[in-house]
């Protein structure tokens, strides 16, 4: 039996052919580990079939009442097969899981490497936690392809082939019937499952995502609903969606167990057909009585190896969806091309940035996010950039950090064009706190050290102190070794922003960029964090993006609108901002 899925995997609409095969190719280097597992699995299924066939032979032969010696070998075989079956199954499971986990570990690294140049602008996954979680699930779906599709399919093939060969040797026409029925069942059943899964899932997915949206409305929007007297209506809609899901599932129930029923029907046909052929051949004297029972039992038990196939096909249907998404991801070209020969960049001296006529578009035929932007970040100066949401502030940071390419205009850093440097060098010079900054599920210390792995404890203390995070850290029972939750959920919004700030300060780049460091904080905390930032960034080239200009004093304050600088605030007196506390105005 081959995998019928691959034949149907190529749909005219799919731009990349055979994503499942491509996924498989990524896992193939691990065949040395997987082959023994497949062999053990096939061996275990063969042992189960052989146990019954041998026992049938033993009993029928014994009924002819020969001397004990002529059945003693069969007795030993029956006992050995009985023991071997479980042992082989155990081996198969262990080897299979070990091999598959190795293969997935390797594949994870491969996907990670493909993702590196795409983060954060090259794929939509980085804009949504759900998409990212799904991506990780897709990678893990590779496990199912091997463990729940390929290995059971291989075992089923082996048993089917073995049974057919033995039956053919005993009675060619019985072998032909058995082989044919096994083949048809083995092809038909998975195809049936794949066809059915495609039909039902679409409508169900639509209602399910509707239910998810409605639930979010019922919970997150409960207060809005209650204030508007609309809770009853919303609950009624949810009730209707729930009823629709149940109706679809009830309808689908008629077809879900069709595949297993089909296997059983083929088993019935094979058992009756082979027995009938064997009986006729026995009556004609062409087949010994012993072989008569062996054939009947063989027909009966060989179909048991096909029972995992419906489940395998269901897994294959899911894996194909994952494989297609992964193929799309692996084929995505990086948004930024690296220079062939990167220019050297010295980052130990103060650097300034000069931007002229910068034009950036997120899509080749989309609107320009930055359109003719010019600005200069003089060394040692604080530049504040204001602007409405969507005015292109974060795009500017992404362009400076070489996450997105620029179409025209120039960014000059240290006297050379930014795109002449390697991306990693550019980010050594220009980095800081981005809007999507992530708090890793590890210790505070490790989260900070990320910015500068060779930092000493004194450096860490200093960065934390300047971000006014030190008191909080020292108040924790595990202090620097406190484990932070999933994306910093164990800390308050203010602490999270301060941690990200401390990390950016620790990195100590020649050009520090801070993108909305007070985003999501309540006004009091925002003012406190902002004033700390002003104090901590004294004397370095800093670009601070914010939408709350209240009380800010900077070397220059610019407003960005529609992708270009719209207004430049008069430059305050030098040193003015240091003397006045900007927190309260």
């Amino acid at each position: 039996m081959t995998l019928p899925a691959e034949a149907t995997a190529v749909t005219p609409a799919a731009p990349k052919p055979r994503p499942t095969l491509r996924l498989l190719r990524n896992l193939l280097p691990y065949w040395r580990r997987l082959l023994p597992a497949a062999l053990a699995s096939a061996g275990s299924e063969l042992a189960a079939a052989a146990l019954m066939a041998t026992a049938a032979w033993l009993i029928t032969r014994a009924a002819e009442q020969p001397p004990l010696a002529s059945v003693s070998l069969a007795i030993v075989a029956v006992r050995a097969l009985a023991l071997g079956r479980g042992a082989l199954r155990y081996t198969d499971r262990l080897l299979g899981h070990d091999g598959v986990l190795r293969a997935v570990a390797g594949f994870r690294t491969r996907v990670y490497e493909a993702l590196v140049p795409l983060a954060p602008a090259g794929t939509p996954a980085f804009r949504s936690g759900d998409l990212l979680a799904r991506l990780v699930d897709d990678v893990d779906a590779a496990q199912n392809l091997l463990l729940r599709v390929l290995i059971p399919a291989a075992a089923a093939c082996t048993v089917a082939a073995g049974a057919t060969v033995v039956a053919s040797a005993l009675l060619p026409q019985a072998g032909a019937v058995l082989g044919l029925l096994l083949l048809v069942a083995g092809l038909l059943v998975p195809m049936l499952v794949l066809a059915l899964s495609r039909r039902t899932s679409y409508a169900e997915n639509a209602v399910r995502s509707e239910l998810a949206a409605l639930t979010l409305d019922l919970t997150q929007g409960a207060a809005d609903l209650a204030a508007c007297g609309a809770r009853g209506r919303a609950h009624e809609r949810t009730r209707r969606a729930t009823a629709r899901i149940a109706a679809l599932e009830r309808r689908a129930a008629w077809t879900t167990s069709l595949a297993s029923t089909t296997v059983l029907l083929f088993q019935a046909a094979a058992t009756v057909g082979v027995t009938w052929l064997a009986l006729r051949a026995h009556a004609a004297g062409e087949l010994s009585a012993v072989h008569l029972t062996v054939l009947a039992v063989l027909a009966l038990v060989s179909f048991e190896a096909l029972t995992p196939l419906p489940a395998a096909a269901r897994h294959l249907a899911d894996v194909r969806v994952s494989a297609r998404r992964l193929a799309d991801l692996l084929d995505t070209p990086p948004p930024v091309t690296e220079p062939l020969v990167p220019a050297p960049l010295a980052t130990h001296e103060p650097l300034g940035v000069d931007i002229t006529g910068l034009r950036v578009r997120h899509h080749p035929d989309g609107p320009a996010a930055l359109d003719g932007l010019s600005l200069s970040l003089p060394p040692g100066h604080l530049t504040v950039l204001l602007g409405a949401s969507g005015s292109g502030k974060s795009t500017l940071i992404a362009a400076l950090m070489r996450f997105v390419p620029y179409e025209s205009g120039s960014i000059r850093l240290g006297g050379r064009e930014l795109r002449d440097y390697a991306g990693t060098d550019a980010r050594r010079a220009i980095t800081g706190m981005t809007q999507d900054a992530h708090v890793f599920h590890t210790t505070i210390r490790a989260n900070l050290l990320l910015a500068r792995p060779d930092a000493t404890d004194a450096d860490l203390h200093e960065a934390a102190r300047r971000a006014r995070l030190l008191d909080w850290i020292e108040s924790l029972p595990d202090r620097w070794h406190t484990l932070l939750g999933q994306n910093g959920s164990a800390m308050s919004g203010g602490q999270r922003q301060r941690l990200l700030l401390a990390r950016a300060l620790l990195a100590d780049p020649p050009v520090l960029v801070l993108d909305e460091p007070t985003e999501g904080l309540d006004p009091d905390t925002a003012a406190a964090v902002l004033s700390d930032i002003l104090r901590a960034t004294h004397g370095r080239t800093t670009l601070l993006i914010t939408h709350n200009p209240a009380g800010l004093a900077a070397d220059q304050i610019l407003t960005l609108d529609n992708g270009r600088i719209q207004s430049i605030a008069p430059r305050p007196r030098p040193g003015w901002r240091r003397k006045q506390c900007p927190a309260r105005s």
């Binding site: 029928t60 069969a74 690294t109 990670y112 983060a119 239910l211 599932e249 689908a252 129930a253 981005t434």
Partner: protein
Amino acid sequence: MKPVERRLTRELPVLRRHMTYSSALALLAAGLVVTRATLLATVLADGFAGRQFRSAPLVALAAVMTLSALLTWARGVLAQRTAAGTKRALRERITARLHDTGPLRLTARRHGETVTLLTRGLDALDAYVVGYLPTMTAAAVVPLTVVAWLAWTDWASALIVVVTLPLIPVFGALVGAHTARRTARQWQLLSRLGGHFLDVVAGLPTLRAFGRERHQAEVVGEMADAHRRATMRTLRVAFLSSFVLETVATLSVALVAVPVGLRLLGGELDLRTALVVLFLAPEAYLPLRAAGAAFHDSAEGIAVAEQVFGVLDEAADSEDPPGLAGPADPAEGGGRGVPAVRAGCRAPAPAARSALLRLEGVTVQYPNRASPALRDVSLSVRPGEHIALVGPSGAGKSTLLALLLAFTAPTSGRITVGGTDLADLDPDAWRSQVAWVPQRPHLFAATVADNIRLARPEASDAEVRRAARAAFADLFVEELPRAYETPLGEHGAGLSAGQRQRIALARAFLKDAPVLLLDEPTAHLDPRSEAAVTRATVRLMRGKTSIVVAHRTSLLPYADRIVTVESGSVAPAAQAPPALTMPSARPEGLMAP
């Protein structure tokens, strides 16, 4: 059965019915198994004896096997439909529970888990209902039937089966208990290692920002390897149980077949009986083995059921505001699960347009909090008056608004509307006279127009447009791909914070309620959005009794009176807070109280 399972079957009649039907069908299936074995043995024994070929037994065998296949299908259909019914019943109970929970309490926390539970989470019950329950009933019914038939056919073989059969559950329980202990210890480590990849991928932009992406590539490999080693340590033990069960089952077949063969040699047994024994013996063990496998699959379903009951049972008090659950009546000692709003007399809501709003010595004490959120607050608001509430975050400003919305009730003291106690009013009737613009309004998974229509679903398109225009929302709405028909919400068009505020203001314009409650509507906006939202808000406040939480916002100048809330207490009214200065000039024509 675990307590959760007992509760599931107790509370869901559909499951009880399913158990009854599936027991009956399992009995029928056992009968068919026995018949099949007997028929096949008869056919083969007849052939062996060289008797005349008869087609009748063979046709009967075909019929029995076909019937058995159809029975499998029927059991599958029944189980799947039961699963659908179970999930529907539980979904409805969860949403009903959400309906009865105070809105503040729902809004206050994150609901990713509830959403997941209601959608994909409950699907884990499929394995329990479709896989585990029928297997368990079969495990109770089939072995008994098979052994009974075996005993009637050949008691010696039946004895071997009877002795070895209990070994499966006994070994299963022994090994299971051992592995459960081992795996429980590993679980935390496994989930942490397993979650590492997602964490690193989610943090990839940050890793690149600090040039650590190359280093992490190795870490990804190392962590995946550590995950594999930890998993394999667990699995080596976990798979032992199935190894033991399968070996017991297959070894028993050998234990039955070999003596039968020896007795045949001695002529003590006929071939037909021997074959019946051979065919039937594995069938006695099969359901128990299947139950062992299904037991593992069911664990997730049971965990989900526990989660569901956790949501359903959540005590109404925990750490949340009393919420809609009504006042914790001091006479009753303010116990758990207080019924929604005081039952009994429901006074008709007085017309709020001309009613005096009064808070009289109101204290709100949230359970499990050291100090009250509001302490002995008295305040009266004249019809048409504009009050600005100022004070540091957490001072109790939002609690004050929640009180006026009847989202929460005073622990002591009372709120009156034109002299009637708010607690005596039907909350929905009262809220129909109040418009509320929260700090972060929720956008519903519906069109822009329906989002604006939230309080008045019957409003015409023209009215919706008029409200949007008044809220300065018309311009950006018309730029959306499908203007007022553009879907919003999680998967809809993304709107900026300022745009969301203006949708909420349009909602309030359309509702046109005499009392207006605004919670820092401009707090998170950029200057330009703030200006637009301020203009719209000021326009909305015209002629309405308005209470605005306006700390640090541009709305302050438009208030008639500024009330400072500080750690639960209200400073003497009409006194401007020291940190803030009132602008001398107020735009004319906007206020007209």
